[in-house]
Symmetry: C2
Subunit: 637 residues, 2 copies
């Protein structure tokens, strides 16, 4: 029977002191979180008003006014609160904690006596509660606030929000289920949140209700159609017959292709994995593995991006991975990291950690400008100014990170992920401590082990793990699949046992014992499956977990006319220029093709030798507008 | 001052007896025209009703009922009538003529006393006439019926429709112009038609009104905005501020980029060329040349297709020529043939004849199934079943020719073009007879010359022109730019003078004199300008005027994984299989790449030797569904 092998790490035990991630966390703490608070309070001139906090004030009866914003506006505050909880665990900040607790108190005052909490319906449509689960995000918003509540309890040790949200969760559990009201959310989220609440409280009804939402989805007759007919009104005009968009086309245990809205899908799969392991549901776990395989084998960009089309921000078809029409929402990569972590918690397989790293260092991080002030929602692999962001098919693929959107889903999602990275880097069970990736700092585990880490990752591959306690346990260190050359030096010549991408070292450790892992980071040429027509004839470069890209800034315009010779020697160089300082860039000899002026000619294009430079994909778009490509044509020698 | 050098050929003087085109014309006569008549009369089960004839009956007061169909439904009957006129010139058919004349009489009875003719407004919105020129196609429908009227007068020698439409044209001329009502059509067409009427009648007001419509377009303040504000209702909800869609963004003489709806654009440019030459307007002619250059140098598919996006069925940006998202409407290629012919009539330059041939043998002909029963509106250069016609971005790119559409613009446009091909193949002025392409049969020219032609074109390059009259004149024969190897044998060792892609042979010809042109048709490799990112690294094949493509039927699936070696020897073969019998197909050694099962790998794909087969592009999609590609990756040796 499937069983969770690793519970989630308690962030309170994790200190981060990492040359790479500490910088990002500082950015989140010093720039993103304060900026987002100002946005939520409508205090940033030039940014379209959020009204999120104001909506709560109105719902609490402390302010006159109308609800403003999307039906899911409450979730912006929820995600901010969750990010703050993690950030406080890393870096206590009394002022921030006080501000957040004031907002939590406001959330409590906006709650209705029976536990109901959704400012849109409280303020604007009190008679329409729970009637439009497909479109109206009540369960989604509740899920986000509940996740924040669990985060506050676990990471910040404060239960004010938990008290509020338990009441809300109790209401939801009392309303929905077999022999109760039928329904499940249009946008999955509550399922994950209820399972987190179950884990925190041990109260099984939360797990059962999550299970109900999961198992009811996709059953016949269509619930969304039923509720649409019953209510006779619509919020967004969504078609309940489009059952793939919300993964409602089949019972989740029968699903085998990742379809529909990519963020919804990956939130669902995450909850399915959670539920499978908590409830010991093998059939559910098999579905998770099938869906994982479909994404990873057929529907994922090399950067970890998922979602090939703007239409429904959705998956499209196997191997359809257009680099320029792409969606690859930042939130979808965040959601894939959730899914990967849940799969890792069930089985420590290197593949899950590999994808987790792919998301962390590429698809997620590319969402945020290096200064933390602007965010991509869409993460393209090919950008051409004058086309991207401009022509109708490419309107969504903006060539520079835009200012804060009214639909501000991605920035706080990045913030909460980055702030809680300890939960992704480390794992544990009774007998074992897992390093899924190498996060500098120190972690104290529930099993009593304490391990510190010094790492030069991802730019070079020196990782030193020091055991800080006398204790017998197994230390399991992820060996990434991309790494062909690695070595481990452990005390007393201890040799690791290799299994599924992890090196297991079992021993009665003494405080001060060190394990030195050395990964050789060679630049790799990546080829796509020949079913991927968008990448035919092309090669991409990667080094360690980092995928690279080519920008016009370094390589001139018309990147589609460049080629990488099959045997080109690639030089690695640590950047000194301001924006990219400390990152490793790649320099290699390449070819540039150029034709005469006519549109078509019998003359093959001429080739000239050029020098090419690639920079980390996550850092693209930080040096002014211009073309960008991940995949370049390869010239066979 | 710009001046028309060649008036349009009178089709009554042209007989067609051509191994290639006669077959197509027979198909149009025996299949397309009768089938379309049945559609117009709602007599084809399973085809969505047209109601076009019924609308005229209701407008004539001979039938009870409501208008049904698009606001431009009348134009379907008009284009059918025009095709019939040309077909009758080629092949008299009393029964067809009688049927058509009956319908013409019906058109006359549907006309209002003042000459107004548009069944939509007569039946449905009589109070809204001329109030929505942007959306409502009154001038467009009038233009098509007027073209049909001129065609009947010129090609079929019957003036019944001309009498009706002159009255309609007179009404239009009395309403619109400087010091009269302001306006111009949202969909250009009337301009071409009025100039044809001017040429037929010599009445200058028709030319002047055409000139007014042309010159008023794009002036300030925006007429479409003005009329939208005045009327306060909308037909399609078009945005009058989208001024590029109807080429209303600048006065036409100032335009230099081909923008907006491609059919509208090319109809406009055709009328501009007509007007420039008839009115001696050099500035207008310069604009035509600029727009021609922009299309031919930056915005045309190798098949002659124009229009890169379904959004507005429009041009997009220079060098943006996606093969799979393409629009390349059949009607737009028809319109480009119009434009090319008008430019040829002004100046006999080989480039215009080259593009004319490109449209005739590729972009236009690909629109029609080989059996004449189904039609493409969109002519893709890459098709992948499961993607094309299915995924949202590709919905319009159906992988097989669909059944008759309710918006039946393309089939009758192909029918009228094919039936009047003599006007495109031949040209003349006082002193010269032009063979722009090689159309078997005989042509009697207004200048008194009679020339017959025997041709094996386009499959091989033997063309024998025989002068059938004793007469001194110049025979000018187009030498296509693609032909590097050609020879001409003329009587008494007469040597041609070569100028701008034409071989000029001047002589006092005697009846029976022959000119033998031999063109060597070698398969050519075509490379796109390196600005075209969609074709980067690729090569296309052409032979004579025919562009080739690769189908799954011959080459297996996953055409994007195929490569053509740079030096592959290409064998030409005359097909014997039923559908393609008589066509030349190409066989060549190629490479197929294949990868392992994983989505991304460090292992370069393996190559295996395969045999590739290419067939004429126009014949694709006739042998069942499957992938198709015009451009394949090239393997440098």
């Amino acid at each position: 029977m499937v069983k969770k092998q690793q519970p989630s790490i308690n962030l309170k035990g994790v200190q981060v002191s990492d040359p790479f991630w500490s910088k990002v966390q500082t950015l989140v703490r010093e720039v993103v979180i304060p900026f987002q608070k100002q946005v939520l309070e409508d205090a940033v001139p030039g940014v379209e008003k959020s009204h999120a906090v104001e909506n709560f004030r109105i719902a609490a009866g402390e302010q006159e006014g109308e609800f403003y914003g999307f039906v899911f506006q409450d979730s912006d505050l929820a995600k901010w609160l969750e990010a703050v909880a993690y950030s406080l665990a890393l870096h206590p900040d009394e002022k921030l904690e006080k501000e957040a607790l004031d907002l939590i108190a406001l959330v409590g005052r906006a709650q209705e006596p029976d536990g109901y909490l959704d400012t849109y319906f409280t303020v604007k449509e009190p008679d329409h509660k729970w009637q439009d689960l497909q479109e109206c995000h009540e369960l989604y918003c509740a899920g986000h606030m509940l996740e924040a509540a669990v985060a506050w309890a676990e990471a910040a040790g404060r239960t004010e929000l938990l008290d509020i949200m338990k009441k809300n969760a109790d209401l939801i559990c009392s309303l929905f289920g077999k022999d109760k009201r039928r329904g499940y959310p249009g946008h999955e989220e509550i399922e994950m949140a209820l399972i987190r609440l179950y884990r925190l409280t041990g109260e099984k009804k939360y797990l059962d209700t999550a299970g109900y939402f999961l198992e009811e989805r996709g059953t016949e007759p269509s619930y969304f159609k039923e509720e649409a007919e019953n209510r006779g009104w619509t919020h967004f005009g969504m078609n309940p017959d489009d059952r793939e968009y919300p993964q409602d086309h089949a019972p989740v245990k029968k699903q085998d292709k990742a379809v529909g809205h990519a963020v919804r899908a990956a939130y669902l799969y995450t909850a399915m994995a959670d539920y499978a392991s908590e409830a010991g549901d093998d059939e559910m776990y098999e579905a998770c593995k099938r869906l994982w395989r479909n994404i990873v084998d057929c529907r994922m960009y090399v950067t970890g991006g998922i979602g090939s089309t703007v239409h429904g921000e959705a998956f499209s078809a196997d191997y359809e991975l257009p680099n320029d029409l792409v969606y690859a929402e930042t939130c979808a990569s965040v959601a894939m990291a959730f899914f990967a972590r849940r799969m890792l918690e069930i089985e420590a397989k290197g593949e899950y950690a590999d994808i987790l790293e792919k998301e962390l260092y590429n698809g997620i991080l590319s969402g945020m400008q290096l200064d933390g002030r602007r965010f991509f929602y869409v993460n393209p692999l090919e950008v051409v100014p004058g086309v991207s962001g401009k022509l109708p098919e490419y309107k969504h693929v903006v060539p520079e990170r835009p200012n804060w959107y009214p639909c501000a889903c991605c920035p706080p999602n990045v913030a909460r992920l980055v702030s809680s990275i300890g939960q992704y880097a480390w794992g544990e069970n009774e007998s074992t401590v897992f390093a899924h990736t190498y996060l500098g700092g120190k972690a104290a585990f529930a099993n009593g082990a304490v391990v510190s880490c010094e790492s030069s990752y991802p730019w070079s591959g020196s990782v030193k793990l020091t055991v800080e306690t006398d204790k017998e346990f197994t230390l399991a260190v992820h060996i990434p699949a991309w790494c062909k050359n690695w070595s481990i030096k452990a005390p007393d010549g201890l040799q690791p046992e290799l299994r599924d991408g992890y090196a297991y070292l079992s021993r009665a450790w003494k405080a001060g014992d060190t394990v030195e892992l050395t990964l050789k980071l060679e630049t790799r040429r990546i080829y796509a499956n020949t079913n991927v027509r968008a990448d035919a004839g092309c090669v991409a470069l990667a080094r360690g977990p980092i995928v690279y890209c080519f920008e016009q800034k370094d390589n001139g315009a018309q990147l589609s006319a460049l080629r990488i010779p099959r045997t080109a020697a690639i030089a690695e160089e640590t950047c000194t220029e301001e924006k990219l300082a400390g990152m490793v860039s790649l320099t290699l000899p390449g070819l540039r093709l150029s034709s005469g002026p006519s549109l078509y000619s019998e003359e093959p294009p001429k080739m000239e030798n050029v020098s090419l430079r690639a920079i980390p994909y996550f850092a693209w778009g930080n040096r002014g507008p211009g073309e960008m490509r991940v995949w370049l044509l390869e010239q066979a020698d």
